[in-house]
């Protein structure tokens, strides 16, 4: 195996940290899911609100860390040199991990503070997904700037900018710049949520999608030997379609938060078009699968890359479209419908991408050139995780339908209506099934973890690659 660039070693640190945080996400998700069934569990000690916060913050951080790891892995290969400022990059990694650790400990042991700015700066900001206290936000911005510096400086030093790097740089600027849009306090909740969605939506429905496009592009180029020109053309098409529908699709978060009525039209129109590019892109994914007859030196990486294409279409496209029209959303907004969509969409679009990347990197570091990374455990984890997430999503979809029809469309959206819907047998059953599939998911994660740690090192007989051409 080739010697690794320093940047690639850093990539490995990021990936391992990401996988650990993935486990943390699942642990807190499990506790929260159990609390739906047994609300007295850890009541007063570790309340639902804390578990939920840890669940979603762990998710955002581990996915980001995985992406950053992917960037550090491919950057030296793309620029054909060591990354400029890699020492700073490593320092930033430690700052990132340190900040995350402190924030988590404060979440767990302090949990909340009094109603003043000190709490917002040092304990929690209390805004969904971006609960991290302001001091941690600043650290994250510094880390992001370091990553951006590494990318830009290395590109300049290599004296040429490939199309992929160009897209990456612009996208990173947008991605990290957008984070700043959430770093402020206002007493006006409509203003608060207006800018908050600039961060959340333009992250997961725009800049993150493009970032994954870049990383998957690199993956396919190196794993399947897809020609650079095809990757580039495809990447530009993806940027055009994703930004073309997603930027004004932001309006689908502006139906009900006090913003003007024109967002109902603009948001509804663009977001109902959002699935069209996803359906189109899946055709290319099938072509790629067929072209290589699913043969490759790294089966798990390839399979997770396909899971990404299909998962994105189903989680984001199908489940997203179902509740995007304002006429429907008026009744489903703020129900478990959003949770159903969110779980499958994140898994399909981002978890799969990160797992594909991680397996690819492991294949490069553990398997000799000309041998195939394969085995049984990754398949068990693959099936288990997919079954788990679809099971959870199906259960939450039933819950979402129930809430929409009963609490909102029938009983009038009051406090009592909420309770009545939550106590409905369909709802109670849905939460039980969600917990069941959550357990399936977490057990599959443990198999995944075992495989990631031992793949290529178990003394398994790795087949020699006999690929055409």
């Amino acid at each position: 195996m080739e010697k690794l660039y320093e940047s690639q070693k850093l990539a490995l640190w990021y990936f391992w940290t990401a996988i650990v945080l993935f486990g943390a996400q699942l642990l807190f998700g499990l506790i929260a899911a159990y609390q739906f069934i047994n609300p007295d569990f850890l009541y007063g000690t570790l309340n639902f609100m804390t578990n939920r916060m840890l669940h979603i913050n762990a998710m955002v951080v581990w996915l980001l860390m995985g992406f950053i790891g992917g960037i550090y892995w491919f950057l030296p290969i793309e620029t054909d040199r060591e990354v400029v400022g890699i020492k700073l990059g490593k320092l930033a990694y430690f700052a990132f991990v340190g900040a995350v650790a402190i924030v988590v400990l404060v979440y767990l042991f302090k949990q909340f503070g009094s109603g003043d700015f000190f709490t917002l700066w040092f304990i929690t900001e209390g805004r969904e997904y971006i609960e991290a206290p302001r001091w941690a936000d600043i650290v994250i911005v510094a880390v992001a700037l370091t990553v951006a510096y590494n990318v830009i400086a290395t590109t300049i030093a290599s004296k040429k900018i490939t199309g992929i790097l160009g897209v990456l740089i612009v996208d990173l600027a947008a991605l990290f710049g957008l984070y700043i849009a959430g770093m402020f306090f206002t007493p006006n909740i409509s203003m608060d949520q207006f800018w908050w969605w600039w961060v959340v939506h333009l992250w997961v429905e725009a800049t993150w999608e493009v970032l994954v496009g870049v990383l998957m592009g690199w993956l396919l180029m190196h794993l399947l030997g897809t020609p650079r020109k095809i990757i580039e053309a495809w990447l530009y098409v993806e940027v055009m379609l994703v930004f073309g529908t997603g930027i004004l699709g932001l309006g689908h978060h502006y139906y009900w938060i006090g913003t003007p009525e024109y967002w109902l039209g603009i948001g509804g129109f663009f977001s109902s078009l959002e699935p069209l590019p996803l359906v189109a892109m899946v055709v290319h994914a099938v072509y790629d699968a067929g072209a290589h007859k699913l043969q490759t030196v790294n089966r798990p990486a390839l399979f997770w890359a396909f899971a990404q294409a299909f998962g994105n279409l189903f989680g984001a496209g199908v489940w997203g479209f179902m509740h995007t029209l304002p006429q429907i959303n008026l009744y489903s907004h703020g129900t478990q419908m959003a949770a159903a969509h969110g779980h499958l969409a994140f898994f399909g679009a981002y978890v799969s991408a990160n797992l594909a990347l991680f397996y690819y990197i492991l294949g490069k570091t553990r398997v000799k050139e000309g041998y195939i990374l394969n085995g049984v455990p990754w398949k068990i984890a693959y099936i288990g995780l997919i079954v788990g997430i679809f099971g959870m999503t199906a259960a939450l979809t039933v819950a979402g339908f129930t809430q929409t029809m009963i609490e909102r469309a029938t009983l009038g959206s009051t406090w009592e209506a909420y309770i009545q819907a939550q106590m409905h047998p369909w709802m109670e059953e849905a939460f039980k099934w969600r917990l069941f599939f959550g357990v399936v998911f977490i057990l599959s994660y443990l198999v995944l973890l075992y495989d990631l740690i031992t793949a290529g090192k178990r003394g398994e007989q790795l087949k020699e690659a006999q690929l055409a051409g």
């Binding site: 109902s272 067929g290 179902m322 006429q327």
Partner: protein, 97 residues
């Protein structure tokens, strides 16, 4: 009843994109493997997608404009897989060494 109307709209919307996805996947698989039977199967999903879309279009809860947007989508989905297949094949033919 309102609850029923909303539930039907959600269900049709869900099925429309689901079947559109299935159509695209099966069509691409059929073209790749040169299996006319798979392509024919995919057309069944194309039809199901269209019918689901019509379920939304003929729901009186939506205004004419929204019916129009959905109708446009449902027609577009009929042609996307073929169009994309041609694009993908041309792209690869041009750039694959």
């Amino acid at each position: 009843m309102l609850a029923e109307t909303i539930y039907k709209l959600m269900l049709y919307g869900f099925l429309m994109v689901l079947f559109a996805g299935a159509y695209a996947i099966l069509y691409a698989m059929g073209r790749f493997s040169r299996l006319p039977s798979l392509i024919r199967l995919s057309y069944i999903f194309a039809l199901l997608q269209f019918i689901s879309g019509m379920g939304m279009v003929f729901n009186d809860y939506l205004d004419l404009l929204w019916k129009g947007i959905i109708f446009f989508s449902t027609v577009a989905y009929l042609f996307i897989p073929q169009a994309m297949w041609r694009v993908v094949v041309s792209l690869h033919r041009r750039h694959d060494h």
